[in-house]
């Protein structure tokens, strides 16, 4: 009778240990990324000089200290640019609600002829907090974009009626101003909300 009790007790102890081991393995197992691509090694950004929404210089040190999401687009873009910014803004709102760290969002306008700092300020404020716009000379824009493998090109048009073809990728920059990860197009809010906290912990 006693040995049967010992056997049962031993079995229960083993069961408990197995359960604890399973729970621990689940807790420490990293959740997978839904969409983002994490760079094997973060890459320092090139030096660049753009203009912020006040017309003041915007250089690489402005990216130090915070996580940033960069998107290359333009304000006359009717579809993919506002849709992407809308997705980023809503993802940021959801991260805020769940108490996660928040990346700042930057629209890098590849249409400096039409997107003055004042136009960018008026545009980005419509998407809520944490979003701002920068632009600059075409050589500086090309230098920065090229360093990420981002492409843009003015499409033919008449007078002011033209479009700009551009990469639709969203780039994640870490607080050391290094290129850390990217989200290929098309974007998805759930994926952003899942992946950003994972990426910003690394």
């Amino acid at each position: 009778m006693t040995s049967a009790r010992h056997l049962l007790a031993g079995f229960l102890v083993l069961l408990g240990l197995a359960g604890a081991a399973w729970f621990f393995s689940q807790a420490v197992q990293p959740k997978p990324l839904s969409q983002a691509t994490l760079l094997p090694e973060s890459r320092p950004l090139v030096d660049f000089e753009l203009l912020d929404e006040q017309g003041s210089p915007f250089r690489k040190p402005a990216l130090l200290g915070n996580w940033h999401l960069l998107f290359f687009g333009f304000t006359h873009c009717p579809d993919i640019c506002p849709a992407t910014l809308q997705q980023l803004a809503i993802a940021r709102q959801r991260l805020e609600t769940q108490g996660s760290a928040l990346p700042d969002i930057i629209l890098v306008s590849v249409d400096p002829d039409r997107d003055s700092p004042a136009v960018l300020a008026s545009y980005t404020k419509r998407f809520g907090d944490g979003i701002r716009g920068v632009t600059g000379s075409l050589p500086e824009l090309r230098k920065l974009a090229g360093s990420f493998g981002v492409y843009f090109e003015k499409a033919p048009g008449i007078d002011d009626n033209y479009s700009v073809n551009h990469s639709a990728v969203v780039l994640l920059i870490n607080p050391q101003a290094e290129f850390h990860a990217l989200f290929s197009a098309p974007q998805n809010i759930d994926n952003l909300v899942n992946d950003l906290p994972l990426l910003m912990r690394q």
Partner: protein, 152 residues
């Protein structure tokens, strides 16, 4: 009989109602986003059903609020986004065409007056020889309307 759909539209107080004058081309789920700034474009999305047994060719769009209404298609290939004008659109008999964020869309430019979210607009689509179909849409604010955010 044509009064019934209009009455239903009014009662439902939806953002988009459709008046199909021909019975061949039907527009549903129409919505539009207001311009974000004074000079940026508005954009409209909807679904077109060709209920007839013949192909339909759409050749023009008109907006009551905007001087220019152009169909464009956003293409994303290898992460690169480009936008091409669509001057003529063919919908095969019995088929459906979706205009949606990140794809085909109606770009609305050069507002006659200052427009903003809440303003109603009337979109007219001309097809075949001289037929038209009309959709009423109310311009929405992008951030106030997260449910319809563009994802495909």
């Amino acid at each position: 009989m044509r009064i019934l759909p209009l009455l239903l539209c009014s009662l439902a107080a939806l953002g988009a109602c459709t008046q199909d004058k021909s019975g061949e081309l039907r527009i549903v789920d129409a919505f539009a986003y207001a311009p974000i700034t004074e000079n940026s474009p508005a954009v409209a999305y909807f679904t077109l059903h060709n209920d007839s047994n013949a192909d339909i060719t759409i050749h023009a769009f008109k907006s009551r609020l905007f001087a220019r209404a152009e169909m464009h298609e956003t293409l994303i290939e290898n992460g690169q986004s480009s936008m091409s004008p669509v001057t003529e659109l063919r919908i095969e008999a019995g088929k459906t065409l979706h205009l949606q964020p990140g794809g085909m869309h109606l770009m609305l430019m050069q507002a006659h007056l200052s427009v903003s979210a809440g303003n109603p607009d009337t979109l007219t689509i001309a097809y075949n020889t001289n037929q038209t179909v009309v959709a009423e849409v109310t311009l929405r604010d992008r951030l106030a309307d997260p449910a319809s955010v563009g994802e495909r």
